[in-house]
């Protein structure tokens, strides 16, 4: 367009385009630290040329209404998968580390030393079967032992309740996030139907899906309309376009199970189908690890109770009567020294059947020897059984810790890859800023030049 007004048009398009580019650069700089932000670029292209005076003349610069967003879809999916595994181990580690504190044997306050003290008290009693001090000590070590059983067991039960609360809260969070994703699906469709890119909404939605993946393992995919659909637990839809399905929790045999609510309102139990995310970590710790520990504690408490009672009831107390049950209770939770014996230490049966009183100590010796008897299933002693339980708790924590650390590094690395594509580099933006600013200045200079040219022409006419 070889006329001066055309020149002004080129200058104007250049000014506007460079200004938009600076605008976007500024936005990138502003969001350098925003989680989930993907850097943006103005797509700059030449305007359509025109034919004039036998020449094909260019007409300046223009920009695509769709602003480019740097994003790697494949990386996003991988990151979500790894994030689900990270969430799982993080939750499991947190839960198990709390259990580990209850097996406080590294500091010699645990069940192990309580058991040693208890069996030794029986040996002391065998040395002086009618001694009041020995009998009183035996009662107190027995009470200490049962109180530790009670305490560890009830602490684990409390922890299970805490986990139930966590599960409830997570499910509420998941539903809220599903709603927000559906909302964003709607907004993105509205924006993009006009040919624009809904970059900010997409970033927000990707970030939401990423956060959601930490809570529960998801399968997410984008359909042809730009909607993100999210499935959980073996293909149960959570978000499809603008529609959402709710997860609910309900009590099932004493623990909170997770249900998926279908469109017609029926609840489907998906607890065992959840395979990742914090929900999986909490549920696994609760339903597998903690249950296992509680079962073993119960086994131990029950075997201690029945074998001590077995030996105690064939013995004779100081009144010459057969011994009562030394321990009462039905498991680790309610193990206790028989209240009658606590009230009257004479009822401790130290003498074996047929032995003289009060010097007989056959029952005391038999009970003291239980410490070294292979009484537990698998042919281990009480002490061995307990130390293998402690070892199991320890190695469970160790495994969770190891996996958590590995997974953290994994997510960190993927996050770095994501940053490599989507992240804002300030140096790069500064260079762009300088680049666009110079272009802007030059365009302004061109307009001044065109202005002077017009002046010159108008001066001729005077």
């Amino acid at each position: 367009m070889s006329n001066i007004l055309g020149l002004l048009n080129i200058g104007q398009s250049a000014l506007l385009t460079q200004q938009k580019a600076i605008d976007i650069t500024g936005n990138n700089i502003a969001n350098v630290n925003t989680p989930g932000y993907s850097r943006q670029r103005l797509v700059i292209q030449q305007s359509s040329p025109v034919r004039a005076d036998g020449l094909t003349m260019s007409t300046g610069v223009t920009s695509d209404p769709a602003i480019q967003r740097f994003y790697d879809q494949f990386l996003g999916t991988q990151l979500n998968d790894e994030n689900a595994t990270l969430g799982r181990w993080q939750a499991q580690k947190e839960a198990l580390e709390k259990v580990e504190l209850m097996f406080d044997d590294a500091n010699e306050f645990g069940l192990s030393s309580a058991m040693n003290a208890y069996w030794n008290a029986w040996q002391d009693l065998s040395n002086n079967p009618s001694g009041v001090a020995e009998r009183t000590t035996l009662i107190s070590t027995g009470q200490f032992l049962s109180s530790i059983f009670n305490q560890v067991y009830s602490n684990i039960s409390t922890l299970k309740n805490d986990i139930d609360t966590h599960v409830d809260n997570k499910v509420v969070d998941i539903n809220a996030m599903a709603d927000r994703i559906a909302e964003l699906n709607k907004k993105i469709e509205q924006v993009e139907v006009t040919g624009h890119n809904a970059n900010d909404f997409r970033d927000e939605r990707d970030q939401l899906v990423f956060e959601l993946s930490k809570m529960i393992d998801i399968n997410s995919y984008e359909d042809g309309d730009g909607n993100v659909n999210v499935d959980v637990a073996n293909g149960k839809p959570l978000v499809q376009g603008t529609a959402t399905w709710d997860l609910v929790t309900a009590d099932n045999a004493g623990v909170q199970d997770v249900y998926w609510q279908s469109s017609n309102g029926t609840n489907v139990d998906i607890t065992t189908n959840i395979s990742g995310g914090e929900l999986k970590g909490w549920i696994y710790a609760r339903d597998v690890s903690l249950n296992d520990y509680m079962t073993q504690l119960n086994d131990l408490a029950n075997t201690v109770r029945t074998s001590v009672n077995g030996a105690h009831t064939v013995g004779l107390d100081l009144n010459g009567n057969a011994g009562l049950d030394f321990f009462t209770g039905t498991g680790a939770a309610d193990l206790a020294v028989n209240a009658a014996i606590v009230a009257d230490t004479d009822l401790i049966a130290a003498a074996g059947a047929g032995e003289g009183l009060p010097g007989g100590n056959g029952a005391a010796i038999n009970i003291a020897n239980l410490q070294n008897a292979a009484t537990m299933a698998g042919g281990s002693t009480f002490g061995e059984y307990y130390s293998s339980l402690t070892g199991k708790v320890g190695s469970d924590v160790q495994a969770a810790d190891f996996n958590h650390e590995h997974q953290t590094t994994m997510v960190q690395n993927l996050e770095n890859y994501r940053q490599e594509v989507s992240g804002v580099s300030l140096d790069e933006e500064m260079i762009n800023l300088v680049k666009f600013q110079h272009a802007y200045n030059a365009a302004a200079k061109m307009i001044t030049t065109a202005d002077e040219m017009l002046d010159t022409i108008l001066g001729l006419a005077r």
Binding site: N128, V393, V397, Q419, E420
Partner: protein, 288 residues
């Protein structure tokens, strides 16, 4: 590779976190002196530490039991030594044929008999030691001279499922009812008072066999004592070994931990130094 600002910040953050975590762990080892502060620090080590601790607690208890047993044997042996001395004196009286002193000698024998009774009814901590398991019942009374206890023994646990028994049955020590040391001395007293020289001489053999019976018990006790002592010595040695194993399992090597800590600290400081340089500078500093 395209390096972005957030990436640098995140990476530095993660590294610093990891390093401070390691330092905290090493610090904990130095402060507690222990390598294993919770089960997950070394699950297998924790299991063996618990079993070593159980062994140590048991050994200490066995040593208490053994000390109790040794004290018992010491006391019994002292008493029985005195009893044999008295029996010897009674025997000397029986040998003494001086006819004009017999009434006084009979009184001597009665006194000796009462002293033996006192020994036989000796109590440790309020409990009779020669009446079997019926430790609240005096084994002998001057009314009947019959044994009132039972056949129970004094039992001491000295190891895993291992106990030793010591004779506490008065009949095994002082002789069966009707022919125990008191009956013999009563017979001697009566014979002296009559006087009946044949009966007096008869009691000499009886007193000798009573002494033999007591000596047998003392020899048995000496055997048990030796066994207790040998076991005690063995346990003292064993306990040191187990304590060493325990220490090797759960104690931290302090010098190693301190060196580790210094290495970690150096790494930490150099990370801080380089990070501050990387994070502070950008192109902005050099643009007019």
């Amino acid at each position: 590779m395209r390096v972005t600002n957030k990436m640098m910040a995140d990476t530095i953050n993660a590294q610093l976190m990891r390093q401070t975590e390691q330092m905290a762990k090493t610090q904990e080892r130095i402060v507690t002196g222990k390598r294993i502060n919770r089960a997950s620090d070394d699950p297998a080590g924790m299991s063996s530490a618990l079993s070593y601790r159980k062994t140590i607690a048991s050994l200490e208890q066995y040593n208490d039991n053994i000390a109790n047993g040794k004290l018992h044997i010491d006391t019994v042996d002292n008493l029985l030594d005195m009893v044999t001395g008295m029996l010897r004196e009674a025997k000397e009286v029986a040998f003494d044929t001086a006819p004009d002193m017999r009434t006084e000698l009979a009184a001597d024998v009665a006194a000796l008999r009462d002293q033996v009774l006192q020994m036989a009814n000796y109590q440790i901590d309020g409990k009779y030691i020669f009446s079997g398991d019926t430790t609240n019942t005096a084994p002998y009374t001057s009314a009947t001279w019959l044994y009132n206890g039972d056949a129970g023994t004094k039992d001491v646990i000295i190891g895993e499922n291992l106990s030793v028994n010591m004779t506490a049955d008065g009949r095994a020590i002082f002789g069966p009812d009707g022919n125990n040391v008191f009956d013999i001395m009563n017979a001697l007293e009566a014979a002296l008072l009559l006087p009946d020289p044949v009966a007096i001489e008869n009691q000499i053999a009886q007193l000798e066999s009573a002494t033999d019976r007591i000596d047998t018990v003392r020899a048995q006790n000496a055997g048990v004592y030796k066994r207790l002592e040998a076991t005690e010595n063995h346990y003292a040695y064993f306990k040191v070994n187990v304590q060493e194993m325990l220490s090797k399992t759960e104690d931290a090597d302090i010098s190693e931990a301190i060196i580790n800590f210094q290495v970690q600290q150096t790494t930490y400081e150099s990370t801080l130094a380089t990070s501050s340089m990387i994070l502070q500078k950008s192109l902005i500093d050099f643009l007019g």
